[in-house]
C-alpha cells in the first residue's frame, strides 16, 4: 500500500539547513493499522506531511499504491490527496460553517461526486461512528470526541487507499480517545481501511498492528503486535525506555 524508501527532508533557516528525516525506510500493508512514535523532534509529523503531499521532500521515494508521489504536478497532487488519502488532524480541522453531515461530504464535494451513493455512504459512516444524532449540528455545538469521529468519517468518504492521522487523540480525554481508536479499528475491520497514525500516546499505539519508532530522523525499531493489547503496550513502553536511555 505505502512504500517509503530513503526519505530525506531538511528545513532551511537563513543559511542553515536542519535535516529532519535522514533516510526513512518503511511500508504499510493493505488493511494494516500502523503507528509511528518517537520523541519530540524525531520527525514524525514531517514524515506524515511528506506522505500527505503537504510539503515537498528532498530525496527518496514515496509510493502509494502503484503511484510515485515525487514530481507530480499540483493538480495531480491535489487529486492524490482527495481520492487516495484521507486525513485526520489533531485539531480536527472541521469547517465551522458546515454541519457534521456536510463536513463529512466535503471531500466528495471537492471531487464533484455527491450523488445518492455519497449520501448513502455518509449515512453508513454516521452510523458506524455513532454520530447520526448530531448530523445536523455544527462543529461548535458538539464535543471533541464527536468532532474527531466526524473527521474520521470525512477521511473515509472517498474510500481512500490510506488514512493518515496526526495525533488524533492529542486534544481528547481518555474516553474520547478510546472512541476514536475504536473508530479506526472499525474502519480497518469493516471498511478495509489502511491507517497510518502518528502518536505520542502509547495506549492508542497499542491498538495498532505495528508500531514504528523514530529517533533523530531515522527508524529505530519496527514492532509488530503479537500479543494482547496491554502486553503490546508494555513492550512499547520498554522499547521507548530503551530508546531514551540510549540517547542519555
Amino acid at each position: 500500500m505505502l512504500y517509503v524508501k530513503n526519505l530525506h527532508k531538511s528545513y532551511q533557516s537563513g543559511n542553515k539547513s536542519y535535516p529532519v528525516l535522514k533516510g526513512i525506510d518503511l511500508s504499510v500493508a493493505d488493511q494494516e493499522f500502523t503507528a509511528v512514535m518517537g520523541p519530540s523532534g524525531s520527525g514524525k509529523s514531517t514524515l506524515l506531511n511528506c506522505i500527505s503531499c503537504y510539503i515537498p521532500f528532498d530525496e527518496g521515494t514515496i509510493t502509494l499504491g502503484s503511484q510515485q508521489l515525487k514530481g507530480l504536478s499540483e493538480d495531480a497532487l491535489a487529486k492524490v490527496r482527495n481520492e487516495k488519502l484521507g486525513f485526520v488532524f489533531q485539531d480536527f480541522m472541521l469547517l465551522d460553517g458546515l454541519t457534521i453531515r456536510e463536513n463529512i461530504l466535503v471531500p466528495r464535494i471537492i471531487r464533484g461526486k455527491t450523488g445518492r451513493d455519497a449520501e448513502k455512504l455518509t449515512d453508513q459512516l454516521l452510523a458506524l461512528f455513532g454520530i447520526e444524532h448530531i448530523s445536523d449540528k455544527y462543529p461548535a455545538d458538539v464535543s471533541g470526541g464527536e468532532r474527531q469521529r466526524t473527521a474520521v468519517a470525512r477521511s473515509l468518504i472517498n474510500q481512500p487507499l490510506l488514512l493518515l492521522a496526526d495525533e488524533p487523540t492529542g486534544n481528547l480525554d481518555s474516553k474520547s480517545s478510546r472512541t476514536v481508536i475504536e473508530s479506526f479499528e472499525n474502519a480497518r475491520d469493516q471498511l478495509g481501511a489502511s491507517i497510518f497514525m502518528v502518536t505520542h500516546d502509547s495506549f492508542a499505539a497499542s491498538f495498532c498492528d505495528r508500531v514504528i519508532l523514530l529517533k533523530d530522523g531515522r527508524v529505530y525499531d519496527n514492532l509488530k503486535k503479537e500479543e494482547s493489547q496491554s502486553a503490546f503496550q508494555d513492550r512499547l513502553l520498554a522499547a521507548i525506555k530503551q530508546m531514551s536511555s540510549e540517547t542519555v
Partner: protein, 701 residues
C-alpha cells in the same frame, strides 16, 4: 445536491462576522477619500484657495497622506481577513481541492466583499461631505462663498482608489493561494510576526533623527539659495527623510522595549510587552502611519488659531476704529459725508484725521530668475512703490513725534517689528514718477505704528526732503490717509455701509491687489517688457464681489474697520476654516480607525494567550490591565508624537519667520494647545471604546 459552489457560498455566509472589520475598513476608507476628493476639487474651495499658494499645497499634501493612511488600513484589514480565511483554505487544500479549483470562488468572494463595501463607501462620501459642510454653515459660519459646489470629476479619484483597494485585496488573495506549504496556510491564523529588535539606543536616536530632519528640512532651502543662488529642487525635501526614520525608531523602541526603566522592575508589563513584540511588525507600521496622520490633522487644526489669534489681537490694539487711504485722483467721501452716513445709522464719528502721502519710486536689489532654477541679485532703479509721509504729517496722524534727518527715511513697522519683511530698508534713491527727479536717501530705522504696518510699505521723510520731492507730482501719485473713531458704540451696519460706499467710490484704475506695483510696471514697460501683473498670472479682483475673501484680503485700498474685521474674520476665512477643519477631521478619523482596527487585531491574535492567562488564574481586573497595556501604546504614542511634533514644528516656523516669538504668537500657540487638549479628549474616548470592544471580543467582564 451539494456542489463546490454551494459549499463556498455556505462558507462565505459563515465568514460574515470575520469579514465585518474588512468591510468596515473598506467602507470608511472610500468614504474618506471620496469626501476629501469632493472637497479638494470643489470649485468653492479652488476659487478661494490661491493657485500655487501654500494652502493648496498643504491641502494636496494632506490628501496624499490620507490616501496613504487609508490604503494602509484597508490593506491591513484585508490581510487580517485572509489570515482568518487561511484555515478554511488550508483545510480544503489538504482535502484535495487544488488552488485552481479554489481560486475562482475566492476571487469572487473578495471582489464581492471589497467591491460592495467600497461602492457603498463612495456613495456615503457624498452625503458625508454635504452634511459636514452644511453643518459647518449652520453652526459655525456662513457666507456667500460657502455655497458648496461640486465638480463630479472627483469621482475619478474615488474610482481610482476603488480600483486600488480591490486590486490590493485580489493581490492578497493571490499571495495566500500561492503558498506552497499547506501547513503554513493552515497555521497562518496563529503566525507570529515579530519585528527585528534593536538595542535601547534606537529610541533616543529616533528623537535625534526627528529633530535633525526637521531642522535640516526646514533650513535647507535657505542655505541652498544662499550658496548656489538658485531655487532649490523639490528633491531637497528628502532632507526631511530622517524625520520618518526617527519616527520608525521611536515606534520600534515603544513596541520592543517600552519606555519604562528596566532596572526598576524588569517584570513590569512583561506579558503585554511580549505579546506586543510578537505582533510587532504590523504594530510598528500602524503606529507610524497613525502618527503621521495625527501630525497632519494637528497641522490643519493649528491653521486657524495661529491666523486668527494674531488677527484678533491686532484688531483690538488699533488706535482708531476706522482707517482708509486713497489716491488723490479718486473722489472719496470725506469727513462731512461720513458724518452724515453715521447719522443715518444713529451714531456719530469723532477724532477724524487726514494727511497726505506721496507714492514714490524706490530703488533696491531683487532676485531675478535665470534659466533653470538659478537666480541672481540685480539692482533696479525703480523697484517698487513706497508711500511717504512728511514727519509733521506723521505726527498729525499718529500723535507720535519723530525727527527725520535730511537725506534719510524711516520705515513704519509694528511694535514688535514682525512685519519688517515688507519694508524696503536698502533704498538709496527715491524718484518722483512725473518729473523723474530723484532724492538720495539712506535707511535710518523703524518707526512703530501698527495701523500703518503690513504689506503696503509706509515710510517717513524729513519735511524739507518731502517738499522737495513732491514738487510737480500729479494726483495719481499722491494719496491721503484718513482715520476716525466711532463716537460711542460702533455700528456694524454703518461699517458695512462705509465699506461698500468706499469701494464704489473708486474707479477701475484702482481695481488691483496690493501686490500690483505701478512703479515696477512703469520700469518694465519703459524697457519694452510686460509686467506680470498685466498678465493672467495676476489674480483678478472685482468691485462686483467686494465681500469675497480674495477682495477683502488683497485689495490695494482695503480699509481697516475694527468692527467689520472682528465680526467678519471667520466669514472672510470661512472656506479656509472649512477646508482645514475638514482635513483635521479626515486625518483624525483615519488615525482612529487604524488604532481601533489594530487593537481588535491584537485581541483576536492573542485570544489564546488571554485564554491561557484565565486558566492560570488571572482575574478579570488583571486581564483588563493587560488589554489596556496593549491598547494604550497604540493610541498614546501616535497621539503624543504626532501632536508633539506638529506643535514643535509650528513653534519653529513662527520663530524662524522673523527670529522672534511675539506675544501674539504665544497666545496663538496657547490656543493651539487648547485645541490639542480637545482632540486628545476625543481620542481618549475612542481609546476607551476600543478597550471595551477588546474586552467584549475576549469575553472579559
Amino acid at each position: 445536491m451539494m456542489t463546490m459552489k454551494l459549499l463556498e457560498k455556505k462558507l462565505q455566509k459563515a465568514d460574515q462576522k470575520q469579514a465585518a472589520l474588512y468591510l468596515f475598513c473598506n467602507f470608511v476608507s472610500l468614504m474618506i477619500i471620496t469626501a476629501y476628493s469632493a472637497m479638494i476639487l470643489s470649485p468653492t474651495v479652488l476659487l478661494v484657495l490661491p493657485e500655487g499658494g501654500d494652502s493648496r499645497k498643504q491641502m494636496t499634501a494632506v490628501f496624499v497622506l490620507a490616501l496613504f493612511g487609508c490604503t494602509v488600513f484597508t490593506v491591513y484589514a484585508s490581510c487580517l481577513f485572509f489570515r482568518k480565511k487561511s484555515k478554511q483554505l488550508g483545510t480544503l487544500m489538504a482535502l484535495g481541492a487544488s488552488r485552481k479549483r479554489l481560486a475562482p470562488g475566492l476571487f469572487r468572494e473578495v471582489l464581492m466583499l471589497s467591491g460592495t463595501s467600497s461602492l457603498l463607501g463612495i456613495f456615503a462620501g457624498i452625503p458625508f461631505v454635504w452634511l459636514l459642510w452644511n453643518g459647518f454653515r449652520l453652526f459655525l459660519v456662513d457666507s456667500e462663498e460657502m455655497t458648496l459646489r461640486v465638480d463630479f470629476r472627483f469621482l475619478y479619484l474615488s474610482a481610482a482608489f476603488f480600483v486600488l483597494v480591490v486590486a490590493c485585496s485580489c493581490i492578497n488573495a493571490f499571495r495566500y493561494l500561492k503558498r506552497t506549504n499547506i501547513m503554513d496556510v493552515v497555521r497562518e491564523e496563529h503566525r507570529n510576526e515579530p519585528v527585528k529588535q534593536l538595542g535601547r539606543w534606537c529610541g533616543p536616536l529616533g528623537f535625534l533623527l526627528v529633530l535633525a530632519g526637521a531642522v535640516m528640512g526646514y533650513s535647507a532651502p535657505g542655505v541652498y539659495m544662499n550658496l548656489f543662488h538658485a531655487y532649490p529642487n523639490a528633491l531637497l525635501n528628502l532632507l526631511y527623510a530622517p524625520v520618518f526614520a526617527g519616527l520608525y525608531l521611536i515606534m520600534l523602541h515603544t513596541v520592543t522595549h517600552g519606555w519604562h526603566i528596566p532596572r526598576k522592575n524588569p517584570y513590569k508589563n512583561l506579558i503585554s510587552r511580549s505579546m506586543m513584540k510578537f505582533q510587532g511588525k504590523q504594530t510598528v507600521n500602524n503606529l507610524l502611519v497613525s502618527t503621521v496622520l495625527i501630525a497632519g490633522g494637528s497641522f490643519a487644526m493649528f491653521y486657524l488659531p495661529t491666523l486668527g489669534v494674531s488677527s484678533v489681537l491686532e484688531t483690538a490694539s488699533r488706535p482708531f476704529d476706522y482707517f482708509y487711504h486713497y489716491r488723490q485722483d479718486q473722489h472719496i467721501p470725506g469727513e462731512k459725508e461720513l458724518s452724515a452716513m453715521a447719522q443715518e445709522h444713529g451714531m456719530a464719528i469723532k477724532d477724524f484725521r487726514e494727511v497726505p502721502y506721496l507714492s514714490l519710486g524706490m530703488d533696491g536689489t531683487t532676485q531675478m530668475e535665470d534659466e533653470g532654477n538659478a537666480f541672481h541679485i540685480e539692482y533696479i532703479e525703480l523697484l517698487e512703490e513706497g508711500k511717504f509721509f512728511s514727519e509733521t504729517d506723521y505726527e498729525t496722524l499718529t500723535g507720535e513725534k519723530i525727527s527725520v534727518e535730511k537725506g534719510s527715511y524711516y520705515a513704519i513697522s509694528n511694535d514688535e517689528e514682525t512685519v519688517t519683511y515688507y519694508s524696503n530698508t536698502d533704498a538709496s534713491k527715491l524718484t518722483n514718477m512725473d518729473t523723474r527727479h530723484s532724492l538720495s536717501v539712506s535707511f535710518a530705522g523703524f518707526a512703530h505704528y501698527g495701523l500703518l504696518s503690513g504689506r503696503i510699505g509706509y515710510y517717513i521723510l524729513n519735511d524739507q526732503d518731502y517738499s522737495q520731492i513732491a514738487r510737480d507730482l500729479s494726483a495719481p501719485w499722491m494719496g491721503r490717509c484718513a482715520c476716525f473713531n466711532a463716537d460711542g458704540t460702533d455700528n456694524y451696519a454703518f461699517a458695512q455701509d462705509f465699506y461698500h460706499t468706499l469701494v464704489s467710490s473708486f474707479g477701475p484704475e484702482c481695481e488691483y491687489p496690493d501686490t500690483y506695483d505701478r512703479i515696477y510696471k512703469t520700469y518694465l514697460n519703459e524697457r519694452g517688457e510686460t509686467y506680470w501683473g498685466d498678465t493672467d498670472r495676476m489674480s483678478r479682483l472685482s468691485y462686483d464681489r467686494p465681500d469675497t475673501t480674495d477682495f477683502r484680503t488683497y485689495w490695494a485700498y482695503m480699509p481697516k474697520s475694527r468692527i467689520l474685521d472682528r465680526s467678519d474674520f471667520v466669514k472672510n476665512f470661512a472656506v479656509f476654516l472649512m477646508m482645514f477643519l475638514f482635513i483635521a477631521i479626515i486625518c483624525s478619523l483615519a488615525a482612529m480607525v487604524i488604532g481601533y482596527t489594530r487593537c481588535l487585531t491584537i485581541a483576536l491574535n492573542n485570544r489564546s494567550v488571554f485564554e491561557d492567562l484565565k486558566r492560570l488564574g488571572a482575574s478579570p481586573a488583571f486581564l483588563r490591565r493587560e488589554i489596556k497595556s496593549q491598547a494604550g501604546p497604540v493610541f498614546q504614542f501616535p497621539g503624543l508624537m504626532g501632536m508633539g511634533i506638529m506643535y514643535f514644528l509650528y513653534f519653529m516656523i513662527l520663530l524662524a519667520n522673523d527670529g522672534k516669538f511675539t506675544t501674539d504668537e504665544a497666545v496663538g500657540m496657547a490656543a493651539c494647545f487648547g485645541l490639542l487638549l480637545i482632540f486628545a479628549g476625543i481620542y481618549f474616548l475612542v481609546y476607551r471604546f476600543t478597550v471595551k470592544s477588546m474586552c467584549r471580543q475576549l469575553e472579559i467582564l
